[in-house]
């Protein structure tokens, strides 16, 4: 008899937060700490990771994707401590990741590519066709699924990237700049998809567009120079700004208010 629900699905959750970091430091290149002493807890929901360029957003996401190992501090994902010599095979099966520079094989068809990623993510062989079809449908690429990747537009490539990230039904979904290259209508669709995914998993979306956060996120994480500046709801972010701060919307004013706080000397930009 085949089980519809596996034992792993029924096992009680033994962690309070999908993502928990304490004093996390991640090194980039030779000596620079791109994430420098970060304390952060993320639970179920859509978390918008905001920050200026070079704040360390991509490095943090790569560390959460277990591509980079923490240099110091601790990083717990789904209750498992990341680091050391462990290969995190079981943990990686439950993570979906869209890198900022999304690389793909140009000659692969969309379905083939997502199938290949499902294989790499150790989705059970019998479930791959179904999972791939569902992922492709969710990002609205079902009618283009048999085209080669090189024939797609930038926005479609990005959506194919999102499809490969969600193909294994991840518990932690990490999307680095998913809205780049999407037109306004697609951006709206992506926000809906994010809200849907955020109902039962932890979605981390890095972006530099404040309006993405307002529309799709339940939680904002403001991040600058490798440290946490603010964590709260979009409403709290908006409340932080006053009329004297730079910005066109309450959220933007809150953003610039928090980043212009004491001890922070921004460049000319």
């Amino acid at each position: 008899m085949t089980r519809a629900v596996s034992a792993a699905d029924l096992a009680p959750t033994t962690y309070a937060w999908q993502v928990r970091t304490t004093g996390l430091k991640v090194r980039v290149g030779r000596g620079r700490m791109a994430v420098d002493g970060l304390d952060l807890t993320l639970g179920t929901g859509v978390h918008g990771l905001l920050g200026p360029n070079g704040a360390g957003k991509t490095t943090l996401i790569r560390a959460l994707a277990t591509v980079l190992r923490p240099a110091a501090g601790s990083l717990e994902l789904l209750g498992e401590t990341v680091g050391g010599v462990a290969d995190h095979r079981a943990l990686r099966r439950r993570i979906g990741y869209l890198p900022q520079e999304f690389g793909y094989y140009k000659r692969f068809r969309v379905r083939e590519f997502v199938e290949y990623m499902a294989w790499l993510k150790e989705v059970p062989k019998a479930k791959i066709p179904e999972a791939v079809q569902r992922a492709v449908e969710r990002v609205g690429l079902a009618d283009r699924a048999d085209e080669r990747m090189k024939a797609l537009s930038g926005g479609m490539i990005r959506r194919a990237g999102i499809a490969q990230a969600i193909v294994n039904d991840p518990d932690v979904l990490l999307l680095d700049e998913p809205t780049v290259g999407l037109d306004p209508a697609q951006r709206l669709r992506l926000r809906e998809l994010l809200q849907e995914l955020g109902l039962d998993s932890c979605v981390v979306v890095s972006t530099h567009l404040v309006e993405d956060v307002a529309a799709a996120c339940t939680d904002v994480v403001l991040f600058a120079e490798g440290r946490l500046v603010f964590q709260g709801t979009p409403e709290q972010l908006a409340a932080a700004g006053g009329p004297e701060h730079v910005g066109d919307s309450p959220l933007e004013r809150g953003y610039s208010a928090l980043l212009a706080g004491p001890g922070r000397n921004g460049g000319a930009w």
Binding site: D87, H88, R89, E101, G103, R107, F108, K121, E122
Partner: protein, 272 residues
Amino acid sequence: MSEQHASMRLIDAYARGDTGIPTDETWALEAHLEACGACRERLSAAVAAQGPAVTDLLDTVWSALEPQLAATEPAPRRRHRPVWLRAWLTPVMVPWLAMVASVTLLALLLDLGGPRFGEVSPVLLLSPVLPVLGVAASWSRGLDPAYELTASAPRAGLRLVLRRTASVLAVTVPVLLAAGWATGVMVAQWLLPCLAFTSATLALGGLIGVTRAAIALVAVWAAVIAAPALAAGRTGSALEADGLPVWALILALGTGVVIARRSAYTVLGDQR
């Protein structure tokens, strides 16, 4: 699989749509039907006998659907590269492997064409580095566009590296075998250096990244073996029978290091 089956009375009632069945019995029956082919068969017989309304409904649905189904075209046959191949090769590796094969062919032609290199056999001289190039292409951040995605996947790690290395060897070794047979070079004379260089690439690759390891090893090979051999016009002792134990030792050492440091291959992401 449970040995017990639903009673015919229950199945008949279920087929009739009898509302008198207790809810828990319905649940139990439905759960059982999902798993039990024999009871499903009995149910379909019962539906035909007991539930003319259900049969009528089904017939109506089918007669409405059939014209639509006939009108839709069957999905076009998709031509796919074989699925199993993707588990062994990345598309990036294909041109490299083609290059390895053509370089071997070129070396063979040089070898057969004339004694321009003195006694040096180009096939023998090239054999150690040919798989190194393929291995580098198979696990390189610079060459493989999907490297970041691969590095974050659960399947990343020594096993995937070994799979790809095996496919490189599966192409390289037969080509070299043919070339070696044509030029009359002893099999062990090129096979051992070839495998030794491959294992050394992987071992060193665990430390400094496979691409860098491949570049370093090719440089070493050019400086220590190829250049002196070409300058002297004869194959150095490294590639003669005397050198074989040394190559075997390198192969064993390389394999040992790879096994000992197997976890290093899951964190290749931070190596450029």
